[in-house]
């Protein structure tokens, strides 16, 4: 009897194996890249109901973050300013600008503004703003250069691994508490960030939870 399979079938297995390897590699690479907060979160930039520009307020006008996010030093939560806060200035400045129509409506009707949330801590993680800003972690470390953003976007991945980067080496990120809201701060003089940070870690006895899951997960 003759051969069951044609000649070319001898190469088939190799080809199949090759395809499978490529496919598998491709899939894992895709998962690795796309299902990663680095991709999923960073750059998330939803349109806001009111075209509020941090660039103008925090950048050009050089307003301090804490003017609006007033509780960041006392509360776990960095609050979104009330309409009241907007109106403090905008009852005088640009009182008629159509951009601010929603704000004025809200002020008159009492119906709150609905801002789209950009940075969201997972529900099982408890991030505490005040303990960070009071211990020399700058806004910029997590939120990026908001003072240069017209529309706020997600600047960092906010993944657990990312949190741990800082919790493991705080020296690379800490700065004097006074400079926390200064998003453009650079290490002063001849000192590097690491030297400054190391000094602060030593003086303040900084030891963020690393092994202690309960530090963030309760």
């Amino acid at each position: 009897m003759a051969n069951i399979f044609p000649r070319w079938s001898n190469w088939l297995p190799l080809k199949i194996i090759f395809c499978l390897l490529t496919l598998g590699g491709g899939v894992s690479a895709g998962v690795w890249y796309y299902l990663n907060p680095e991709y999923m979160r960073v750059g998330y930039q939803p349109a806001q109901p009111v075209p509020f520009s941090h660039k103008i307020h925090a950048g050009q006008l050089n307003m301090d973050c804490r003017y609006c996010h007033s509780y960041v030093e006392t509360s776990a939560y960095s609050n979104i300013p009330t309409t009241q806060v907007c109106m403090n200035c905008h009852s005088q400045i640009q009182g008629t600008s159509p951009k601010l129509q929603l704000v004025r409506d809200s002020w008159q009707t009492g119906k709150p503004l609905e801002w789209v949330q950009v940075h969201k801590t997972p529900e099982h993680a408890y991030f505490h703003h005040s303990v960070h800003v009071n211990r020399g972690v700058s806004c910029v470390s997590c939120h990026g250069k908001v003072n240069e953003m017209d529309v706020v976007y997600h600047a960092q991945s906010h993944s657990m691994a990312w949190c741990l980067d800082c919790h493991r080496n705080p020296a690379d990120f800490l700065r004097p508490v006074a400079e926390v809201t200064n998003l453009d701060w650079k290490p002063q003089g001849d000192k590097t960030q690491r030297e400054i940070g190391a000094a602060l870690v030593k003086d303040w006895h900084v030891n963020p939870p690393v092994k202690n899951c309960a530090g963030c997960h309760r």
Binding site: L35, V116, E123, H124, W204, H205, G215, R218
Partner: protein
């Protein structure tokens, strides 16, 4: 959650401000932590409907699933941040605010501090400044928060069953009052917790309508006691036991440490029970009772006696005392009292009498509130002759003027002249004594207006039902059990448009004032001051009560004549010899049924029987053998022409000819949780001389009823010396210098020294958290369990799941019956709170395949819920079985739909219940293991507060450290006897760092080398050496085999499901 919540009641803000300033002003540790305490994720700013913290794991699951479908789906679903339009004063998103308040109750209101997050009260704690409770509370206060958010509360005015509104009611009310004239046609029925303001309005009303009838009724109230006091000492007085002064206490059928005592009594007793060495003085407790109660559990000597024989016992005691004291008056009183002939354990009465007499002035005898007036009067006579009056037994004027009883009111109503009957909170149709036939009486009234938090059986049969506000929603005032005046502040606007009783009364009285002014006027009257009282008012709101307003004791002497009269006229108890007696006991959870729809309370195991979601006929093992029943067999109880069927529950230590049943179950007009739970025994209750009935016959019906008992096994199996270590004062004195006396008991006595091949990785945090539990002062009241449930968002699982053994309580109070030689008739009862022992070498950690439970540097066995995949291996390897697994999605599924296919059954939790959840604690989903974490959320908040406080201040020698004892765990905070102590064992100033090295300190299963962080302080018994049964004290820990085998059923009430 509804937006209303965030509009803080304007009035409340004053309270807020003062309270807050008080925080800075009064620098007590509690306040410092409270002020420092903060929490993430201002719930107010995440959109109302988004309750993602509840369903967070599902969300994660969802996003993972979506990821597979399309990459765009990887972006998180759009969420909105909704800030206030105008900032709310004092409200900082994510920070707690605290208000003083008080929980009204017939036994004296509970002084409270209410925790609110973004305008939502989430937890109550005792008011640490109030002398009565010093920051502690009880199960009812703890679970009252759940009542507030109960989605099945009455939510609208009902006009003869149909939905109506307040306006309509007001016009109707006006019409009624116009025709009221002198009030001849008006009648009022109030419940026992009458506030001073209500009392004031009552007088105004009676002034306006002099002929109106005002009655009050509490099914578990003090009517008999008041009558007895009146007989013994004169009218409108009340007798206050001072256990904090008593060295020898004898309770006769009186659960003074349980449901028949106030928190002041409990704390007083505990104060006398605290010991720091064999030398320290300790009180002695004699208990005579028909069933095991918490009091009996704490007793040094216990006599098992049917309630109907309490009189006989007191008679015998009085006779003995009369002999010793030569008090002829007492002798004659005793002899004039005709009690059935009874035989007591030899020398029991004699020795007890001798001991009491020996401690003349420091002795106290208490008779049960259910006992006939004569018996209670006799007990007062005995106290008088023991010189207790003004010392261990104080008398004071009662705050409320006397009223007619419900029976009298029923008679009036039946005459049919009543035009309008106002029922204020009471629920007589359900819980009035059967023989007064209240239903007919109520029907005889032309208009019945019922105000209450739930429609209830009574509201359903009334022409008008008005939803009343929860005490956290209304301005009111109250008196603590020491009589001090407290203001009840609203911390949230009424969720369901409830009206406070005061507002209603004000309308009737024609008083025009807003609710706060009503209270302020009362305050003015109470303070007895003239002119501007703002300062005092402010001070009262600050501290939660008016200082120096406690009731003053009055000097009173025994009115022998009237007592003699009462005793002589007392009917002789007949039929007590044959059949059983039936004792109506106050339920330790739902009280008279008012808390029937509170899931926390329904699921809370009864401290003694460990029964949940039910009531049962408690009988002794001997009686069970006689009747041929086991736990779960349904009995038919017949007394007179009435009878009912109820499941039997065998309780060791119960009197053989006695049956005890808890009232308050079997409600029909109530939310779904409480409906038809248990059996209604009120039909057997009559307004007779006493709250027990004799001549009851019990027969086995052959039916079965599954009882949900959380502790299947009550015997110690000879492990008493390992688990619950005890010693008598004598034994302890002998070993006073032996540091290892309590540490080397049971298996630890001969187990070799532990040593490990490994060196423990450094637990190098500045803190090291630990806990001690003083078994000597723990009465086993289970308040800690409720506090834990409220603090840690612990779900309820329902009766069926409890039967399956899946209750979720993170901590439990174990209750053991044990005695040498396995005597089930008169065993000892030992309670032991058991929470996660936070082993330094935690066996649960190494077996977890995904590192979901690991150890923190400050010595906690922490649990990362979102990492857990639910293998349950950790729970298996836990020697204490304190880990709890979410077998179902208890937070997302109603307890009735657990077995319906997930994809087709409804999900989600009522908004109002979501509002109750503690935003600092993750709500766990199904398939996740959970456990006690020493309230790690409080620990973290405290650490964070310390770090924030430290900020960049230079020159710190260590890392920021939480000051000693500035905060504590929920269970330690609530504990009425301060038996639980939590703190930093590494901080030399902390209480615990000393307590844990106490000679009595020992750790469970030391030989396993788990290095527990929980120390138990051994229990010390103080028996009277002369007593016949002195030797039995502490026998539970003498290593004898717990119970005899043949009586296994006795402590395996739930043995049904193997």
């Amino acid at each position: 959650m509804s937006k209303r919540v965030f509009q803080h009641p304007a009035e409340a803000q004053t309270g807020k401000r003062y309270w807050r300033s008080l925080g800075q002003l009064q620098d007590t540790p509690e306040f410092r932590t409270w002020l420092h305490r903060e929490f993430p994720q201002g719930a107010s700013e995440v959109e109302g409907n988004d309750v993602s913290r509840r369903g967070f794991l599902q969300l994660m699951g969802a996003s993972v699933a979506l990821a597979g479908l399309s990459l765009s789906a990887c972006r998180r679903p759009m969420k909105y941040l909704v800030p206030f339009t105008k900032g709310v004063e004092w409200s900082v998103p994510g920070k707690a605010l605290f208000f003083t308040s008080a929980m009204p109750s017939r036994t004296g209101a509970m002084p409270l501090v209410v925790t609110t997050f973004d305008g939502r009260p989430t937890k109550v704690e005792g008011n640490p400044m109030h002398p009565v409770n010093k920051g502690t509370t009880d199960i009812w206060a703890q679970s009252s928060v759940l009542d507030l958010y109960d989605p099945q509360r009455s939510q609208s005015v009902l006009s003869s069953g149909k939905k109506s509104d307040l306006a309509a009611f007001d016009t109707e009310l006006a019409a009624l009052l116009n025709t009221a004239g002198d009030g001849a046609g008006l009648a009022f029925l109030a419940d026992g917790s009458v506030s001073p303001t209500a009392e004031r309005l009552r007088h105004l009303i009676l002034a306006k309508y002099p002929k109106a009838v005002w009655a009050s009724y509490e099914p578990n109230g003090h009517e008999l006691e008041n009558a007895a006091v009146a007989a013994a000492f004169g009218a409108d007085l009340e007798a206050v036991p001072r256990l904090d002064r008593a060295d020898i206490v004898l309770t006769v059928d009186r659960d003074i440490l349980g449901v028949e005592g106030e928190i002041s009594s409990v704390r007083g007793f505990a104060a006398k029970r605290k010991v720091d060495g064999p030398k320290s003085k300790m009180n002695r407790l004699y208990v005579v009772e028909n069933r095991y109660t918490l009091t009996g559990g704490m007793s040094d000597h216990r006599l098992r006696l049917p309630a109907s024989r309490a009189g006989a016992f007191l008679k015998a005691l009085a006779t003995e005392l009369a002999k010793l004291s030569g008090d002829a008056g007492l002798a004659s009183l005793a002899s004039s009292f005709k009690a059935p002939e009874t035989k007591f354990k030899d020398k029991w009465v004699e020795e007890t009498a001798a001991d009491l007499w020996a401690h003349k002035g420091g002795a106290l005898v208490l008779a049960g509130r259910r006992q006939p007036i004569a018996v209670q009067a006799l007990s007062f006579a005995i106290n008088a002759s023991l010189g207790a009056l003004g010392k261990t037994l104080e008398l004071r004027k009662s705050a409320t003027a006397p009223t007619v009883g419900i029976a009298a009111l029923a008679e009036t109503l039946k005459k049919g002249h009543t035009n309008a009957l106002f029922i204020l909170g009471a629920n007589p149709i359900f819980n009035a004594p059967a023989d007064i036939r209240w239903t007919e009486a109520q029907a005889a009234a032309k208009n019945v207006i019922h105000i209450g938090m739930e429609v209830s059986e009574t509201g359903a049969k009334s022409n008008w039902h008005v939803p009343s506000a929860h005490y956290l929603e209304q301005w009111d005032d109250a008196r603590a059990s020491d009589g001090s005046y407290m203001v009840v502040q609203p911390v949230i606007l009424p969720l369901y448009n409830g009206v406070s009783v005061n507002e209603l009364l004000a309308k009737i009285a024609g008083v025009e004032a807003d609710p706060m002014d009503l209270v302020r006027q009362t305050f003015l009257a109470v303070s007895g001051k003239k002119g501007d009282i703002t300062a005092d008012w402010v001070d009262t709101l600050k501290s939660g009560y008016t200082k120096g307003s406690a009731a003053k004791p009055v000097v009173a002497t025994l009115q022998a004549a009237s007592v003699a009269k009462v005793l002589a006229e007392a009917p002789v108890l007949t039929g007590a010899d044959k059949d059983f007696e039936l004792v109506f006991i106050t339920d330790s959870k739902v009280d008279d049924g008012r808390y029937a729809n509170n899931g926390w309370l329904q699921e809370l195991p009864d401290p003694v029987t460990k029964l949940t979601w039910d009531n049962a006929a408690l009988i002794s093992p001997a009686a069970a053998t006689k009747l041929g029943v086991h736990t779960g067999d349904v009995l038919k109880l017949t007394v007179g022409d009435k009878s009912l069927e109820i499941a039997a529950l065998i309780l060791p230590g119960h009197a053989d000819t006695s049956i005890s049943v808890a009232v308050g179950y079997g409600r029909t007009e109530v939310g779904s949780l409480g409906r038809n739970v248990g059996v209604d025994v009120f039909p057997l209750l009559t307004s007779t001389e006493s709250r027990f009935r004799v001549g009851v016959t019990a027969v086995k019906t052959g039916k079965k009823h599954a009882l949900a008992v959380t502790q299947e096994h009550g015997a110690l199996e000879g492990r008493g010396a390992d688990l619950t270590r005890q010693a008598t004062v004598a034994e302890w004195t002998e070993k006073a210098d032996d540091k290892t006396f309590f540490k080397k008991m049971g298996i630890d006595a001969h187990a070799p020294e532990n040593f490990s091949l490994y060196s423990h990785p450094p637990l190098d945090d500045v803190h090291a958290w630990g806990m001690t539990v003083d078994l000597n002062s723990c009465i086993g009241c289970a308040a800690c369990m409720t506090a834990c449930q409220a603090e840690n968002n612990i779900p309820i699982v329902g009766k069926e799941q409890v039967i399956n053994g899946r209750e979720m309580h993170w901590m439990r109070t174990d209750r053991y019956f044990a005695s040498e030689g396995g005597d089930v008739d008169e065993p000892e009862m030992v309670s032991q709170p058991l929470m996660c022992q936070q082993c330094e070498n935690a066996p649960c950690e190494t077996v977890c395949p995904v590192n979901a439970t690991v150890h923190s540097e400050d010595g906690l066995n922490v649990m990362a819920y979102n990492r857990c995949i639910g293998t349950r291996y950790c729970a298996n390897n836990c020697p204490f079985k304190v880990r709890r697994f979410n077998f179902f999605d208890y937070n997302e599924r109603s307890i009735t739909s657990l077995y319906r296919w997930n994809m087709i059954s409804e999900k989600g939790m009522a908004d109002s219940l979501q509002m109750q959840k503690n935003p600092n604690v993750t709500v766990r989903m199904r398939g996740v293991m959970e456990k006690c974490t020493f309230c790690v959320q409080r620990i973290q908040e405290a650490k964070i507060a310390a770090k924030v406080h430290a900020s960049d201040s230079a020159g710190q020698t260590t890392q920021p450290r939480v000051p000693a004892d500035v905060f504590t765990s929920a269970c330690a905070q609530v504990c009425p006897t301060d038996a639980i102590t939590f703190g930093d064992i590494r901080n030399p100033e902390s209480k615990i760092s000393k307590l844990k090295d106490d000679q009595r300190g020992y750790r469970l299963l030391e030989y396993l080398n788990t290095e527990n962080r929980v120390w138990y302080l051994a229990r010390i018994r103080n028996p009277n050496p002369k007593m016949p049964d002195a030797a039995r004290a502490g026998s539970a820990s003498k290593g004898g085999h717990g119970h005899s085998e043949k009586h296994e059923s006795a402590h395996t009430p739930n043995g049904g499901h193997a």
